[in-house]
Symmetry: C2
Subunit: 419 residues, 2 copies
C-alpha cells in the first residue's frame, strides 16, 4: 500500500480497518450506535444549523437556484427529522449473517451462503447534507464503513455532521473512521475515490444524471447506478376511464421532481376519444402543461404541440408528454426506445396485453393498473430508501439494506479433499 503524504490513503486504510470491526459488530451494538448518532444530532442541532447557514450564505452569494437552496437547508425541524430517520433504521432487520441458501453435498461438505457487508462503501453526491446522515446510518446498519464525498456546496454542513457522527460512534465504542469525509480533497478526492479499486468495494453516486454518468464512466470501483426515471404509462384500448384518470393524475401530480413520476403518457388510438378528454382536462386543471402529438391535440386542443425532444424527456416538473400509438406493440416499441428502464405501467382490462407488457417491457419495475409512484423502497416495505437501481447487475429497482451487502460461502468439512 502506498501512502500519500496528504493522508488520503490513510482515510481509506482506516475505513478498511473500521469495516473489519463493523462486519463483526452485533446488531445490538450497531443499533446502540445508531441511537447514539440520533441523540448527538439532536444535541448538536445549533452547531449543525449554524454550519449549514454558512454553506447557504455562500450559495446565495454565488446565485444558487432556489430549489438547490431548499435541498441544502437544514433547519432545527429538519435536524430532528434526520434524527428520527436514523432511529427508524434501528427498527429494520439487520441483513448481515442472513442465510441466502445452503445445503450438504454428497461428500458431506456443508455449504452456507451468508450475507456479509461489502466492506467499504464510497458515495459521491451533491448539495444534500441529509444524504450524509442517511448514508452513514444505512452503511452502519449494514455493517459497512462509509467514505463520503458530499460536494463543495454543503462542505461546512457535512464537516460538522461527520464530526458529530464520529463522536457518537466513539461514544458507542465503534471506530470514528467508520464514517469518513473526503470533502477536504475537493474534486481530486472524488476522482481518487473512483480509482480506489481494492480499497473501496462499491461506489454509490446520488444526484444529477450528469454526476451519475461521470461516475459510471470514470470509476474502476464497481458502481451501483441509481438512475433517472423517464417513466411511461400506457392506456390500453380497454382501460377503465376512472381508473386511468386517477392513476395518471396521481402519477403526475402527487409529487413532481421525483424519479417515479410519470413523464410520458401513451394512449391506444381506439381509446383516445373515450379517455383523453377527461384525463387531460384534469391534468390541465391541476396546472400540468401537456405536450401532445397531433392525434392527441385533435381531442384536446389546449395542449402544446410535442416535439421529438419531448419523447424520453425527464421533466421533473408539471409537464407531461402525450402520444397516441397503434397498439400495445407500438407502446412497447416506444418505451424500448425512450425509457430509462425505471418504471412503466399499463392500464388495461385485457389479460393478454397485460401479460405481454409485463413480459416484454425491460424495466426495473413493470406494473399493471397501478400508479408508478409506488416504485419506492418505503412503499415496497423495505423501510430504508437506499435508492432505486436502474442497472441490471447486483440490484434492480428499489434497494433495501440487503442490497448493501454481498455474500460469502462458508464451507464446513471434516477432512474432505477432491478426487
Amino acid at each position: 500500500m502506498t501512502r500519500t503524504a496528504d493522508g488520503f490513503q490513510t482515510i481509506l486504510d482506516d475505513a478498511r480497518e473500521a469495516s473489519i470491526v463493523l462486519a463483526r459488530a452485533t446488531t445490538t451494538h450497531k443499533n446502540a450506535a445508531l441511537e447514539s448518532i440520533a441523540a448527538a444530532l439532536v444535541a448538536n442541532t445549533d452547531r449543525i444549523v449554524e454550519a449549514n447557514g454558512r454553506d447557504l450564505e455562500r450559495g446565495i452569494a454565488k446565485g444558487m437556484p432556489a430549489g438547490l437552496q431548499d435541498r441544502l437547508t437544514l433547519t432545527h425541524d429538519r435536524v430532528q427529522a434526520l434524527a428520527a430517520a436514523v432511529r427508524a433504521i434501528i427498527e429494520l432487520p439487520d441483513p448481515v449473517g442472513g442465510v441466502v441458501r445452503g445445503g450438504t453435498l454428497a461428500n458431506g461438505l456443508q455449504l452456507t451462503q451468508v450475507r456479509v457487508p461489502f466492506g467499504v462503501v464510497g458515495a459521491i453526491y451533491e448539495a444534500r447534507p441529509n444524504v450524509t446522515v442517511d448514508l452513514a446510518a444505512i452503511c452502519l446498519k449494514s455493517g459497512n464503513a462509509a467514505v463520503l464525498r458530499g460536494g463543495s456546496d454543503a462542505e461546512e454542513s457535512n464537516k460538522v455532521l461527520v464530526d458529530v457522527i464520529g463522536g457518537a460512534l466513539e461514544a458507542a465504542d465503534l471506530p470514528r473512521a467508520s464514517v469518513a469525509s473526503i470533502d477536504a480533497y475537493g474534486r481530486d478526492g472524488a476522482q481518487r475515490l473512483m480509482n480506489a479499486r481494492g480499497y473501496v468495494d462499491v461506489l454509490v453516486p446520488r444526484g444529477s444524471a450528469g454526476l451519475i454518468n461521470a461516475v459510471v464512466n470514470d470509476s474502476s470501483v464497481p458502481v451501483i447506478e441509481t438512475g433517472a426515471g423517464v417513466v411511461h404509462i400506457f392506456l390500453d384500448e380497454t382501460a377503465d376511464l376512472d381508473m386511468a384518470n386517477d392513476i395518471v393524475h396521481n402519477a403526475k401530480t402527487q409529487r413532481v421532481g421525483v424519479c417515479n413520476a410519470v413523464e410520458t403518457l401513451l394512449v391506444h388510438r381506439h381509446a383516445v376519444d373515450r379517455l383523453l378528454p377527461a384525463i387531460l382536462q384534469r391534468l390541465h386543471d391541476s396546472g400540468v402543461v401537456i405536450h401532445a402529438d397531433e392525434d392527441a391535440r385533435a381531442t384536446f386542443p389546449a395542449a402544446t404541440a410535442a416535439t421529438d425532444e419531448d419523447w424520453g424527456r425527464e421533466y421533473l416538473s408539471m409537464d407531461i408528454a402525450v402520444r397516441v400509438v397503434a397498439d400495445v406493440d407500438a407502446a412497447i416499441a416506444h418505451i424500448r426506445r425512450h425509457s430509462t428502464h425505471h418504471t412503466e405501467s399499463i392500464i388495461t382490462n385485457d389479460m393478454a396485453n397485460a401479460e405481454k407488457f409485463l413480459a416484454e417491457v425491460d424495466s426495473a419495475v413493470v406494473m399493471v393498473n397501478a400508479s408508478t409512484r409506488f416504485t419506492d423502497g418505503g412503499e415496497f416495505g423495505f423501510g430504508a430508501e437506499v435508492g432505486i437501481s436502474t442497472q441490471k447487475l447486483h440490484a434492480r429497482g428499489p434497494m433495501g439494506l440487503p442490497e448493501l451487502t454481498s455474500s460469502k460461502w462458508i464451507v464446513r468439512g471434516n477432512g474432505q479433499w477432491r478426487r
Copy 2:
C-alpha cells in the same frame, strides 16, 4: 442510435433484438436449440478442426508457448466433448422466470420479483475456442444474447464455431444474432464493446489477470470479474496431521494451473515440528518446489528460501510458499494482506479459531477442514462453470446460471394510486 459504417453498431442492435426473442423463449425451445447446437458441432467436426489447424499453424509459426497451444487445440475428441458439454446444459434448470421473493402489500398490490435475463452479455477472452461454445450455451440457456470477442489467436476457430452455432440456432427457429462474434474488429472491437454501455448489459472477461484488469479499468459496461486465486491454507496448532497432509497435498497437486489450487501454506508456530516434515516431504516427493521462510526451512532444509515476492504470488505451477505464523490472528493478517479473496481454508480442531477464521477472512469462499479445490461450480452442484467471481457486487464465488440473470419487479394492481 448511431449506426457506424462498418456494421459494429448493427451487431449490437441485432443482438438486442435477438435478446428480446430469447427472453421470451420457453425452456423447451431453448433446450431444442442447445440440442441443435450440439448436433451441429458434431456434424461440423472436420470443418472446425481444420479451421483450428490454421490457427495453430499460425500460432506455432510465431512461437506460441506449448501451454497456450494446448488450450487452443481442438481435436475430434475435444469437439465431441464440447457437444457433450452443451448437452449437459440442457439438463440444468432454467433460471428465467424463477420467483426471488414477493408478497401482497397492505393496499392490495401484488409484488413479485422474478429472474429475467440480463439481455446482451459481452465476453472478452483469449485463445480458448472452447469458451466460445461454453459461453454461447450458457447465455442461450439463461436467455441472453452473447457478443463474443475471442482474440486473434483463435480467430479462425471462433469464426467457424460462431457460424456453426448460428446455423444451428436458425434451424431451431431462434435468431442467428443470438450469438455474435466481433473478432473481425480486432482490438478496436474489444474497446468498443467496453464502451457499449446501454447496448451491452454486462461484460464478462475471462483470461489472464492482465486482460481482466484492462477490462475492469476501461469498461463503462458493468463487469463481472472472475479473478485470480492466491489461495491460502492455514494449519492451526490443533490441526490433525493426516487430515492436513491429505488436504494440502490435494489442494496443491490434484490439478495445478487452476485458480482454486493452494499457493501459500501458513503454519502455526507450535505445529511446525509436528506437521511440516511429513507434509512438505510428501509435496517434495510429488515434485512440488517449496519456497519456505526461515522457520519452516529449519524443519525442512530441502526447501528453497522464500523471498517477499513469494507471498501473494499465484504460481499456477508445482510451487508452494510456506510461512510460519504466530497464531490464527497472524494468519488472518497475512491473508488480508496477500489474498485475492478467492478461497482460504483453515485446518483446525479448535472451534473458536475455526469460527474466527470463517468470520474474519474476507474471501468469496472460506473453509474449515476441506480442500480449496472444492471451490467450483460443478462441485457446488451448479452444473455449469460460468466462472468464479472475486468481486463483491452481484455474484461472489462460483457462478451458476442464475448469476447470469438480473431480476425485475412485477406489480399487479386494480387501480391503486398513492395517497
